[in-house]
């Protein structure tokens, strides 16, 4: 029997980016907030310090900051006819765990979706004809526009101290930036990260081909910066220990560096770690949640935490699993097409390349995710899809490895993987190789979805979430198209050697590809076709708000965190200015 605790105003289920942003905004509005986090606490002073933070083995190979699959995982299959099996150790994607969540180990690439991304279905129908979208492609317009989100994108930029070069300020195209981006109300908070030689070479080649290169926007401060909350952030050291790791310089933004320093001393906020929420307590009749039940993993004891409001702020898979287990909303049924919870799962369709230049020399261990240069000419609706046989696109980036040597090495295809010949090639090319990536969109398809697994259970005995996913023909065509465009740039750079890495036919759960999972609790304009309304409020429980990329109707050609942060601020504003005054549905179906 769970011990019933004193009711609080709001509970956060998960304390990554979205939980921390919402906790900060709600405590500022005067609410008493409890943050429940399944993993451990992590503080910069204790956990992100030299020399132990410079441990490539611990962080990139043993995945110190990632979820514990002995407690929880998902099951996976490529198609509905197959049997799903548990991911016994995460590989293709790496959700984080603990305070800060995936927002500690991320690469911090910080993007906004295009204005046209937010109205993609109607835009495609207008541009290519009412019947242009295939029947199985279940993309939809977002119920919010770029213009509505802009001030919230801006706010998140200024929380993180994003570094970049603006391409469009209030409609004016700025030299050196991304001319395709939506208008921004102000410059990036910080100047771009310093470039590396291979990035510059890629940019020069792209420009000569008539494309529009610009420095990658990153939530990594290029200089010391005091953020919009008054928190001092450090300057990037270009250490190369970046992806999958924490930042010792307090330059790569995380909830731990930007928000937790404010929440920890806040008397209206209480953080409880190792608190594994097993259930949203749902009153179906009243269309409200009454709170959550969680297990304290330190004692094994179960608690009921009543709350006036619950914010579901865990990773995509956790959000969807909680709604399905609580029976909130109608589960998506592939055979009838009815239901919404679990629908429109999408991924990021990335494909890469490598090039080798024997006469140029650089240092592959120097840098961060932002030392790359990008082009956005082939993203979303930035180009004409007429006659191409697919929709979607992505940005293309090129730069140095920016990583220590377990991961930051490269040899041409055909080189042996071991032995003296491998060693010779590894040494020969170490200072001369660069990498490219295509950040492809995934346009939702009715065959890609999430539901509950009939067989496998988590550590609390709850059914695991089951993922059914494979790359669609549309997305494969899109990816091959991006690689063709990338190859033209690489050829123009005149490398000694280069290799293109097209995606395999089937999605596989290893090796690593991208942590950008989206969908399953999609936002929309009506309860028949979506799980939450435009303010991320559940249609089926008016005091339940769902944060994060699970609300994306599909995945566009950008890293999701920028949009995730903006949506959280957007939702927080609606809660504070509208909901708290008159609790109930913010949108009437």
């Amino acid at each position: 029997m769970a011990t019933r605790l004193k009711e609080v105003d709001a509970v956060m289920v998960g304390m990554g980016w979205t939980g921390a942003i919402m906790a900060r905004e709600l405590t500022k509005a005067g609410l008493n907030v409890v943050g429940l986090e399944r993993g451990q606490d992590r503080t910069p002073g204790e956990d992100f310090t030299l020399p132990s933070v410079r441990d490539e083995m611990k962080y990139t190979q043993r995945l110190e900051l990632m979820m514990d699959n002995s407690t929880d995982t998902i099951t996976f299959r490529n198609a509905p006819a197959e049997m799903a099996l548990p991911i016994r150790r995460i590989g293709a994607f790496l959700p984080g765990e603990g305070v800060g969540g995936s927002g500690i180990h991320w690469g911090a690439l910080h993007w906004r979706n295009l204005p046209t991304d937010f109205r993609i279905r109607s835009h495609i129908q207008q541009r290519y004809g009412a019947n242009a979208i295939p029947e199985d492609m279940t993309i939809t317009d977002w119920p919010v526009s770029y213009d509505e989100l802009e001030m919230h994108y801006d706010r998140f930029d200024k929380l993180c101290g994003v570094s970049g070069q603006a391409g469009n300020i209030n409609g004016k195209i700025m030299p050196g930036g991304n001319p395709f981006e939506g208008p921004r109300s102000s410059e990036y908070p910080n100047k771009p990260i310093k470039s590396a030689l291979p990035s510059t070479m890629f940019g020069d080649a792209a420009k000569a081909l008539g494309l529009h290169p610009f420095p990658a926007p990153v939530a990594i401060t290029s200089q010391a910066y005091t953020n919009v909350e008054g928190v001092a952030l450090g300057a990037c050291e270009y250490c190369g220990y970046c992806n999958r790791m924490a930042c010792e310089a307090n330059a790569k933004a995380s909830a731990n560096t930007t928000l937790m320093p404010l929440l920890r001393p806040e008397t209206k906020f209480e953080l409880r770690t190792r608190a594994f929420v097993s259930k949203l307590n749902y009153d179906k009749q009243a269309k409200k949640v009454t709170g959550v039940t969680y297990t304290d993993l330190k004692t094994g004891e179960e608690y009921e935490q009543p709350a006036s409001m619950v914010v579901l702020s865990s990773f995509v898979f956790g959000n969807v699993q909680q709604l399905l287990l609580a029976g909130i909303g109608e589960p998506f049924d592939r055979s009838t097409g009815k239901g919404t919870v679990g629908k429109n799962y999408a991924y990021q369709f990335e494909a890469s390349a490598a090039a080798f230049f024997e006469n140029r020399e650089w240092n592959p261990f120097i840098g961060n995710a932002g030392t790359s240069v990008c082009i956005d000419d082939f993203n979303g609706e930035n180009f004409d899809h007429g006659g191409l046989g697919f929709f979607g696109g992505g940005y293309i980036s090129g730069g140095p490895a920016g990583a220590p040597p377990i991961t930051g090495r490269g040899t041409p295809h055909g080189t042996p993987e071991w032995g003296s010949e491998w060693k010779r090639a590894t040494v020969k090319w170490y200072h001369h190789f660069m990498r490219f990536n295509t950040q492809g969109s995934v346009y939702a398809n009715r065959d890609n979805f999430m539901d509950l697994d009939p067989t496998y259970k988590d550590a609390l005995g709850r059914p695991l979430l089951r993922l059914t996913y494979n790359g669609t023909e549309n997305d494969h065509r899109m990816s091959r198209f991006l690689l063709t465009k990338l190859e033209a740039c690489i050829k123009a750079m005149n490398p000694t050697h280069y290799d293109m890495h097209p995606r395999p036919r089937n999605f596989t759960i290893v090796p690593y590809q991208s942590t950008h999972n989206t969908g399953g609790t999609m936002m929309g304009t009506d309860p028949k076709s979506s799980v939450v309304n435009r303010y991320l409020q559940s249609w089926d429980a008016s005091n339940l708000f769902v944060m994060g990329a699970s609300v994306f109707p599909q995945q566009h050609g950008y890293n999701p965190t920028g949009t995730v942060g903006a949506l959280t601020y957007w939702s927080a504003k609606a809660i504070i200015t509208q909901y708290l005054k008159n609790p109930g549905p913010l949108v009437h179906a």
């Binding site: 020399p51 132990s52 490529n78 990037c236 840098g367 090495r409 060693k423 290893v510």
Partner: protein, 236 residues
């Protein structure tokens, strides 16, 4: 035939344990038939092992010295401590299956579904070494560590391509795990027991720590940065 193999194994395990206790010679040297000279220079067995048995250690030394042979660029894998690295990794929480979903039922699944065995990495290595030695005994009449270098190379290639037929799991899956651990040991910080004296970092020109390059990015934009490497241990 099978009985002979078991008898020989028991003898060899006993012999190598005695040899290890009496001298700094490695088990692989103790086991090696005089006719087959070791492919790599002798390595002092100065690091006590946490989990590998003498037979397993002999296998691991032979494997890492074939994957990372001694040549003009670096000493052999075992001379760099890669065998010690693997021993410690297999004895670590990771080797014991930490953070791994281990509930059944167990099914083979498609390759797309990843690793589906009930075995922890430590257990998988034990099974993989037994399976490799069974295969080399059938193919060459000897355990892997007793093969001439050319046959060790051929064996690892047969496993890498999956052509070597193992009874319980694909030889390729074991090769991949072995290869991955060997390279991690070669390139990781020396605090884990491999990459002794930062040999691989010197070989590549990787400076290790402290990795503060904000003032060097522009100067070394088009120029190799040469610095003597430092390890986590140098700052601890």
């Amino acid at each position: 035939m099978a009985d002979d193999a078991i008898l020989r194994r028991q003898f060899l395990v006993g012999a190598s344990a005695v040899a290890a206790a009496l001298s700094p010679a490695t088990p692989s040297q103790a086991q090696a038939a005089p006719a087959v000279p070791p492919a790599s220079p002798a390595v002092p067995a100065d690091e006590p092992l946490l989990t590998l048995t003498p037979t397993e250690h002999a296998f691991i030394i032979a494997a890492v010295d074939t994957l990372i042979p001694a040549d003009e660029m670096s000493p052999s894998g075992s001379a760099c401590g890669v065998d010690v690295f693997i021993d410690r990794q297999l004895a670590s929480a990771w080797g014991g299956g930490a953070k791994m979903y281990r509930s059944g039922p167990f099914h083979k699944g498609k390759p797309e579904q990843g690793y589906q065995l009930a075995l922890t990495p430590r257990e998988f290595f034990a099974a993989g070494i037994i399976a490799t030695n069974e295969w080399t005994r059938i193919t060459y009449g000897k355990d892997f560590d007793r093969l001439a270098e050319i046959d060790r190379i051929a064996t690892l290639k047969a496993m890498e391509s999956g052509k070597a037929e193992f009874h319980n799991f694909s030889s390729r899956s074991f090769f991949n795990q072995l290869h991955s651990l060997a390279l991690q040991g070669f390139f990781s910080d020396p605090i884990y027991g491999g990459n002794r004296n930062m040999v691989s970092w010197k070989m590549l020109g990787f400076p290790g720590l402290p990795a503060t390059y904000a003032n060097k990015v522009d100067e070394y934009h088009d120029k190799k940065l040469v610095m003597p490497p430092q390890s986590i241990a140098d700052f601890s």
